[in-house]
């Protein structure tokens, strides 16, 4: 497996985590602290442009120029290892690093624009960062530390039926670099097993999109929700209690719209939705309100997790 650093990390803030599921950030910090991961957050870092990028508003040069600025911030903090909470931030940043390293014309063009406009301090030198060695998702870090997870597990969640939804932009965009595969993605399944739980593994549509489709959710809701329904039906067929996510946008699609899609399908979907960091934080004893941030959830977390039993030591 590729080397994953657990030091000198810059935890990359995500717009959707910040305003939709802040508990994901709190849970990530909680778990990272327990596992002794060395990370920091920068106030200067801005969004990756992902939502605008995949709505076709931002073109590659806009996104990559913004990326170059964020990469510089990471370098200056001596935290060259970017860790993303959002699958789209991960895909966008990895692609920008690849392009900046590989496509000399693009890099020179962006650097020239910086030079001509008093932004020389943002210039990106070829191979400042490496796509495989410096760009990660939180699950990569958790995977690297997975052997230590069990030392911190407080609650036994093995009684729940658990399935995973691996965000497309984590698995598929840079598939050659995805831990746990892309055709039957299972990095989260492996991490969850370290909490003493097992997942249902493969299910129909396991690798299918959440259905957000960026513009589809807002401009083409029928298409969007029909695609989501494929997966929600499959998950309900398997009687799943907890669907574990790694991307806040998928999380929105499932948690916020489960009620609406249930109505459309004439079914009653009952799964709750937790980010992988929230799931582990919960297993490690994180407080519902102070760590997991359950108040941000539309499908009430306590509709499934009613009481917690401690693991037998």
């Amino acid at each position: 497996m590729k080397h994953v650093p657990t030091d000198d990390l810059l935890l990359f803030r995500s717009c959707l985590v910040s305003v939709e599921y802040p508990g994901v950030e709190a849970s990530t910090k909680f778990v990272f602290d327990k596992l002794g991961v060395d990370y920091a957050i920068s106030e200067k870092q801005t969004c990756c442009t992902g939502l605008g990028h995949y709505s076709d508003v931002f073109n590659q040069i806009d996104t990559t120029a913004i990326g170059a600025r964020n990469f510089k911030i990471a370098k200056e903090l001596n935290r060259p290892n970017l860790v993303m909470m959002c699958a789209t931030c991960y895909a966008i940043n990895k692609k920008s690093v690849k392009l900046l390293n590989k496509k000399d014309d693009l890099r020179n063009h962006i650097n020239q624009l910086f030079d001509e406009n008093g932004l020389s301090h943002l210039k990106y030198e070829k191979d400042d960062l490496k796509p495989t060695e410096n760009i990660f998702h939180v699950v990569d870090i958790l995977y690297a530390k997975k052997d230590e997870i069990k030392n911190h597990v407080k609650y036994d969640l093995s009684g729940y039926k658990i399935a995973t939804h691996h965000g497309c932009h984590y698995c598929k965009v840079h598939y050659e670099d995805t831990i746990g595969g892309v055709r039957d993605p299972n990095i989260m399944d492996e991490i969850i097993e370290e909490c003493g739980c097992s997942t249902i593994g493969w299910y129909d549509h396991k690798r299918t999109t959440c259905g957000t489709g960026f513009r589809q959710r807002y401009s083409n809701p029928d298409l969007s929700f029909t695609a989501t329904a494929d997966k929600m039906n499959a998950i309900d067929d398997e009687d799943v209690d907890i669907l574990v996510h790694l991307c806040p946008n998928c999380h929105i699609q499932f948690d916020r719209y489960q009620h609406l899609i249930a109505q459309r399908e004439g079914r009653n979907f009952r799964a709750i939705h937790l980010n992988i960091a929230q799931f582990i934080a919960l297993a490690m004893g994180g407080d519902f309100d102070k760590v997991i941030g359950v108040k941000a959830h539309t499908v009430p977390v306590d509709s499934v997790i009613k009481d917690l039993k401690e693991v037998e030591k």
Binding site: C15, T49, D56, C168, V173, G213, Q216, S219, L223
Partner: protein
């Protein structure tokens, strides 16, 4: 109907233009397509709409530039499933993104972007990408309790020991605005807005 190919036609030019786009990470992938249909077999948009990724490539290779005006291209989910399975190393998902940028260069599809200009605006005001406010009403209709939650966001964040939702410093906003101006982004956004608002 007979489709005539004139001796002067050069259908492959269209594919070449896509290959040369900076966004393309698949080198000559598009040229290697054998129309096997594995992309379509796994595509959520093909499953539920008239979008067909294999056909996108077929038309690109035919040099059919009218594809940029085809509404179907806007149905792609950008889920990259086609990109992750294509046996010849092509990426319809990337080709699709490039097609849309070509559309925009040709003043096509402005109406599709107009609704999403909020993603651009928030960069100039707050250096972040925020869901455009124009969708809030729909969200509130579809997601019970969402509006109330957003009103309480600061409090919830405080309970989680997180900073208030992040308004970066003026310096940061200025720097980001400047970047997005010098790349030509701002001008493009303003043009789209002006064009669309003139129509309306």
């Amino acid at each position: 109907m007979t489709n005539q190919q004139k001796i002067t036609d050069s259908p492959i030019d269209f594919a070449e233009k896509i290959i040369n786009d900076v966004k393309n990470s698949k080198e000559d992938g598009v040229l290697k397509c054998v129309q096997c249909g594995m992309c379509t077999s796994t595509c959520p948009a093909a499953r539920h709409s008239d979008y067909n990724p294999r056909e996108i490539i077929e038309r690109v290779l035919e040099g059919d530039i009218s594809i940029i005006e085809d509404d179907n291209i806007w149905n792609c989910f950008y889920c990259y499933t086609c990109h992750s399975v294509c046996p010849v190393g092509n990426s319809v998902c990337e080709v699709n993104q490039i097609l849309k940028q070509i559309a925009i260069e040709n003043n096509v599809g402005y109406d599709k972007l107009y609704e999403y200009l909020g993603f651009a605006d928030s960069y100039f005001t707050a250096a972040i990408g925020a869901i455009p406010e124009r969708f809030f009403q729909d969200i509130d209709r579809d997601v019970p309790g969402w509006w109330e939650f957003r009103q309480n966001l600061e409090e919830i964040r405080k309970e989680l020991d997180l900073n208030p939702p992040l308004m970066p410093s003026e310096e940061v906003i200025d720097e980001v605005s400047k970047i997005l101006t010098i790349t030509g982004f701002k001008q493009k956004i303003e043009k789209i807005r002006a064009t669309e608002e003139a129509v309306k």
